[in-house]
């Protein structure tokens, strides 16, 4: 079975500082990895994804994520946080070769990011 862990329920960072939201995964074979963001009273929005190749993936709004196969991690990063980045962030995984329920995305529990002015 595939799974995602987001070890931090809450991350606080000062505006202008770098931010990291952590994600580790478990899947059979190679993974497809995703980050989504949810603003209050909104649906999830796609930020970025890892398919293959370069371990550093760049996405929307200045976010990037680093795939680390040996550590089975896919941490979300941004060099300089904005107050407007405050939202709920979800990591998700799907195996490249999958069957049954593993055909679907498995989401983590979410990390609430608060950027303080």
């Amino acid at each position: 079975a595939q799974s995602v862990a987001q070890p931090e329920d809450q991350v606080n960072v000062a505006e202008g500082n770098p931010l990291t939201v952590k994600c580790t995964y478990s899947v059979s074979g190679n993974p497809y990895l995703f980050w989504y963001v949810q603003y209050p009273n909104r649906g999830l929005q796609f930020l970025l994804k890892y398919i293959t190749g370069d371990n550093l993936v760049k996405g929307s709004y200045g976010f990037e994520a680093e795939f680390n196969k040996s550590q089975t991690s896919f941490h979300l990063k941004k060099p300089s946080a904005l107050v407007s980045d405050s939202a709920l962030y979800f990591c998700a995984v799907r195996g490249q070769i999958s069957s049954g329920s593993a055909r679907q995305l498995t989401f983590g529990s979410g990390t609430q990011l608060t950027v303080l002015p």
Binding site: Y36, N41, G43, L44, K49, I51, R94, S98
Partner: protein, 115 residues
């Protein structure tokens, strides 16, 4: 700007009543997903359709929930009878199944409150 639309955005009902939530996927998308989000359980997949056929509804309580796609532009999620524990935000998402790494596009959700 193509978007997934959901109606209603908010629904308050009494226990025992029937609730129907509707979703219009992005035109051309052939996969539709229903999710439920609560504080306690997070984001749960309820049902999944591809080319209007239900492929996986293992996450859905079968005795009271049902999901259908009458046509390619409409997906419905019905709860009958509703119970207070069904209170949650229900999201619909759509996508393309041509690649396993294609992202899903989420609607704004229906906030359901069952009294």
């Amino acid at each position: 700007d193509a978007r997934v639309t959901q109606t209603p955005r908010d629904k308050v009902t009494e226990m025992g009543q029937e609730v129907t939530m509707r979703c219009q996927p992005i035109l051309g998308h052939n996969t539709v997903f229903w999710y439920r989000q609560t504080m306690m359980q997070g984001l749960e997949l309820l049902a999944y359709f591809r080319n209007r056929a239900p492929l996986d509804d293992s996450g859905m309580p079968k005795d009271r929930f049902s999901a259908e796609m009458p046509d390619a532009t409409l997906a419905t999620l019905k709860i009958q009878p509703s119970e207070p524990r069904d209170s949650a935000v229900y999201f619909c998402a759509s996508g393309l199944s041509s690649r396993a790494y294609n992202e899903q596009f989420f609607g704004p959700g229906t906030r359901l409150t069952v009294l």
